[in-house]
Subunit: 470 residues, 2 copies
């Protein structure tokens, strides 16, 4: 092979290409061999050089062509603006909690527990068993694998007091994650233009699902003991809403757990107004100093739509949640799920069931509780020591987050940016308010990577706060 010859051919072909323009077909290798009086290998080498430079491309069996130069023609999609019209239900941008973080950042912003808090061994073993079994190739019923339906029903049944009829497996619909459940519940039980009462602040994913469903959000203030039942009655009365979304245990973002008896009071109001309580029990596996008892356990009259997720406690790759609903409401939700996705991967269902029915799962949950406790306590100490400007309304008894109130006038946008530049990721509280924020809040998640850096992270936040106030 002669390198000089191949460069010479490439140079001359480049001129030819410039003249011929995009799409032109190059002469065959045979003609080039004849034209340049070179060996086929040398010609091929020249063509490879040009291909590597992005100037030509070969289509096997068809020939070699001059490539369209991308930058020559920027695409114009402006016609779509007319076709798409304004969105019917404008969606808020994805929350800052979904941002990735560089490996050396101190990450307080994410909503997902770090890998070291997941039952890694159980997850991998369960997935491998599922991969070898029937679930790898089969299609489960629309409502879910019967054994997984039973497990979700059994979990709620375990909290159900005597005298209340516990749920049946057939009351359960398995979901590909609780976010999908929220969308379906809001669409199916309220629907576009209808009112939906939500605690405020509340989970940003629920606010997003409400926007997608096109429902009209009615915010209900909720404190460390939960919402005031009279406020809820007033909200139902004034708006005609029949749906109330709430997180009675370790609410995201505040960590609040409804006071004893509050669930029954809220249920009384819900019953009185012929309404539904959508109970998002997202943190069921994240109790620290208390054990969460679902409000749904008090209900056998179909007033509570109960949502339980495994995504955060099992693995974000095993996106499985379950909704428990009774009566026509369940049929509505199931019809919406079937239209949206027909069924949930049986492999993920089998793996989720495998994980939560292993003896190791209970061991894992006990160890998780201790780890969350140390992490929470460490972050509380760090915050108190290093962020004197922050007010921690209460130390949450479970969940994954601290909710800090900062002085009024704090520039949250600047604070999160300053912190990020200093290597600390935090989440501004704004995302968790369905309407205007009631103050300047930040949420710090204590389930992220590297808890050893919590004091340092808090120190940096404190410093940035100082700059922010000056």
């Amino acid at each position: 092979m002669n390198n000089d010859s191949s460069s010479r051919i490439a140079t001359r072909l480049r001129d030819w290409i410039a003249g011929a323009g995009p799409g032109a077909k190059l002469p065959s290798t045979r003609s080039l061999v004849a034209e340049y009086q070179a060996s086929p290998v040398t010609v091929q080498k020249a063509l490879q050089t040009l291909t590597g430079q992005g100037l030509i491309e070969s289509r096997p069996g068809v020939g070699t062509f001059v490539r369209a130069v991308r930058t020559a023609r920027p695409s114009d999609y402006s016609w779509q603006t007319a076709a798409l019209r304004s969105p019917q239900a404008p969606l808020p941008p994805a929350s800052a909690t979904m941002r990735g973080a560089s490996n050396d950042a101190i990450a307080f912003h994410s909503g997902y527990p770090d890998r070291e808090l997941l039952p890694e061994r159980l997850v991998r073993a369960a997935l491998i068993r599922a991969a070898r079994g029937d679930a790898a190739l089969s299609r489960p019923p629309a409502a879910g694998l019967p054994e997984l339906q039973s497990w979700f029903a059994q979990e709620l049944r375990a909290s159900t007091p005597v005298g209340i009829t516990p749920p049946n497996p057939s009351d359960v619909i398995v979901l590909p994650g609780s976010q999908s459940g929220l969308s379906s519940i809001f669409s199916a039980l309220a629907g576009s233009g209808q009112p939906l009462v939500m605690e405020s602040p509340t989970y940003w994913g629920a606010i997003l699902a409400a926007a997608q469903a096109g429902v009209r959000v009615v915010p209900l203030p909720s404190g460390p003991d939960g919402p005031d039942p009279e406020d809820l009655a007033r909200a139902f009365e004034e708006t005609g809403a029949r749906l109330f979304y709430a997180q009675p245990n370790y609410a995201n973002p505040t960590g609040a757990q409804w006071a004893a008896g509050r669930g029954e009071q809220i249920l009384d109001v819900v019953r009185k107004y012929g309404a539904f309580l959508v109970e998002d029990d997202w943190a069921h596996d994240f109790g620290i100093s208390t054990t969460p008892v679902p409000v749904a356990a008090q209900d056998d009259s179909g007033h509570v739509i109960y949502l339980r997720s495994l995504t955060k406690s099992v693995s974000s790759a095993i996106r499985i949640a379950g909704v428990i609903a009774r009566g026509p409401a369940r049929e509505r939700i199931l019809a919406d799920r079937a239209a949206e996705s027909m069924y949930v991967s049986g492999l993920l269902q089998a793996a989720a069931l495998d994980v939560v029915t292993q003896p190791g799962w209970q061991t894992h949950l006990r160890s998780l509780r201790h780890q969350l406790q140390s992490r929470r306590d460490l972050l509380v100490t760090s915050v108190r020591g290093h962020i004197p400007q922050a007010h921690l309304e209460h130390v949450p008894k479970g969940g994954l987050n601290l909710w800090l109130r900062l002085p009024d006038g704090t520039d949250l946008e600047r604070l999160t940016l300053d912190c990020e530049r200093a290597g600390v990721m935090i989440a501004a509280g704004t995302d968790w308010f369905p309407a205007e924020p009631a103050g300047a809040f930040i949420r710090l998640n204590y389930s992220g990577p590297n808890p050893g850096a919590f004091p340092e992270g808090a120190r940096i936040i404190g410093q940035c706060m100082e700059q922010n106030m000056s």
Copy 2:
């Protein structure tokens, strides 16, 4: 332990239970020991008997209680009727194609290929590798795993002619199945109350997704060569629709493949009206005597929203599809997907990518093509031999289905029922019409289990047809 004593205690306790009623707390074991002058073991035995009979239940650390008798109080959910109101977008019931079938039935009704047509070895190996890798515990970006985005883009790029800018990986959104894509596309690009043109007949899942999105369906007749471009222009003109859903290759249910040049003609109309073509390339892997070329390959102006699914060709457990869209349309779809489910399981994405990038995948596709050909030919022969009343408009060049026209006046409901009783599952064509059916059709899927039974199945359908006509 004295069995007679324990039975005696159980009998007397049963009387006590009947009097005390549900929820009553039983006396402590210690009191029962004293009362019945029996050993603790005998009392425990009596309690176990009653527990086994479902009369009592013990709550560790709290006590033993009389259980609520389930059958005594049927639940009344009728209050929900008022709370739920009429559905805003009534959803058709799930298609008959989703029914299960007993093992010995001859199943022509399902839409999913039998396990023997799936790349079982590749699927299991890919899932096991994914279970051992990073994907088992991590969360991918909302738009999908970058490597899988690249693969979907590359697949379409391979068909893209010179002079057309092929799609970029960033134009791809990975979906948990194509059904989810249809819902999002119809919601995001048309929206409630807006018109959507669809071929008729067309995929029932798309009709379902359209109902869920609340769009107004405008049916466009489509024959063996595809729809008439002038009809499409008229539909756009008359309704103001900006969205046209179609399956140019091996349409479900008819198996039609658009004639040569039809794609370009349709694209011209779509461009002229500033509209979108939603191309559902569901059967891309199911070519038999032709190789499907997506219409999307002709477009770099953002007019085609291209949907490609792997669920049916890889495994129903690996629910993965990709949508390729450019410009603001892609942003709208992505926002809807993020609100609906945030992200798609990275495990399923990694496994899907693994399967389709193995050398064995191409081998599998070649073998699949041959198997589909034999199955199709066997079913065509069987139908022609045994169902003289059926008219097969054309033998499909790919896909999984035969679409048979039966004489007008055929009672399809009775026919499917008679066939089912005789052990043959068929699908009445009704599900595939967005409006009134244009005639009496049935769809027979030739990718189901046990092709050896196709002639017998056809014979039975022929017999049931005879009864139906008499």
